[in-house]
Symmetry: C2
Subunit: 191 residues, 2 copies
């Protein structure tokens, strides 16, 4: 949990007492690979900080999975729209590999917001990051070539995501066919 | 400005003194229709609260305008990604009609965040709303029929946007051809 503390220190200059208040709310969970944490139609009650692992969000399009978000070690993940609205999710959330996470319930999250403006700031930063992430995805999908979009994906993601997430999941995130991604990867590695 | 005050009271339970601090930072601007407030490649220095008017954001795709956001009376608008990151915008921001707005600079916005946790909360709410808006757009574009997506657009937007924004701009927002939108509108009005 030391790295989460470091992140919070950096992001919101959290002090020892505030850290204690925060840490007390977390629940450590050991999750097996391919654990379904949330299905569409359910309400996302938790946000997760991944100590070590690999997770993703996705939704269904004509019965096929479209990945919408990947996260690994030291990153936050949730079916975020449902988490902040407490309305039904259209997203699924699952682990791709065995993961050790710290979860924080929506109820406790909201209590923290009332406790200190620093947690309000943390919530704002998370919201802004999520906004930029989804905006960037839609913009790149609409304006960039598949190759440019993939190169950007490489730039913006951790090595672990690039190496361990199955290629068909990345292709669906980019909005391209797996065969196209395979072609692009060959082009890049031979250039 | 009375309605902005009411909104802030509702959103963040702002008191009189905090309202004064907020209101002092605002600059009233009378803008002519088709005023270009921001071009791609510039940095968004201001967020706007529209007292009365109609504005939009868009970006270019193969030289063509793709609308990304509409706002009218009593709503906030900004080239938000650039506003929060203070990096170069890929979006344009313009008025579609004569507009009376209150602008708040990024510098003053950040000072307010330091002044009271209530403004931090306001910033979080704006970030969450923007997140939901763009997520919803990408999801609907990917999973819904053009007709469903347009019906949802009707549901989620003010009458003023529906009546006064040119149809080709709405079509580009929905990611469909203007002729398709025209056909859908005929279908709806005759059903």
């Amino acid at each position: 949990m030391i790295r989460l503390k470091e992140q919070l220190k950096e992001l919101i200059s959290i002090g020892e007492a505030e850290w204690e208040s925060f840490a007390e709310q977390l629940v450590k969970e050991n999750l097996k690979a391919k654990t379904e944490l949330l299905r569409a139609g359910q309400i996302a009650r938790k946000i997760y900080f991944i100590e070590e692992g690999l997770m993703r969000c996705y939704h269904l399009k004509d019965g096929k999975e479209v990945s919408t978000y990947f996260a690994c070690d030291q990153q936050f993940i949730s079916a975020y729209a449902s988490f902040i609205t407490q309305e039904y999710s259209f997203e699924y959330l699952e682990t791709l590999e065995d993961s050790i996470v710290y979860s924080l319930s929506n109820y406790k999250f909201n209590r923290l917001l009332e406790l200190s403006p620093k947690f309000e700031k943390l919530a704002r930063i998370l919201a802004e990051r999520n906004y930029l992430c989804v905006l960037n995805r839609i913009f790149s999908m609409q304006t960039k070539s598949a190759k440019e979009h993939y190169l950007e994906f490489i730039e913006q993601n951790e090595l672990k995501v690039l190496q361990r997430v199955p290629q068909y999941m990345i292709a669906s995130f980019l909005g391209i066919a797996p065969e196209s991604l395979s072609r692009i990867r060959k082009q890049i590695s031979s250039s």
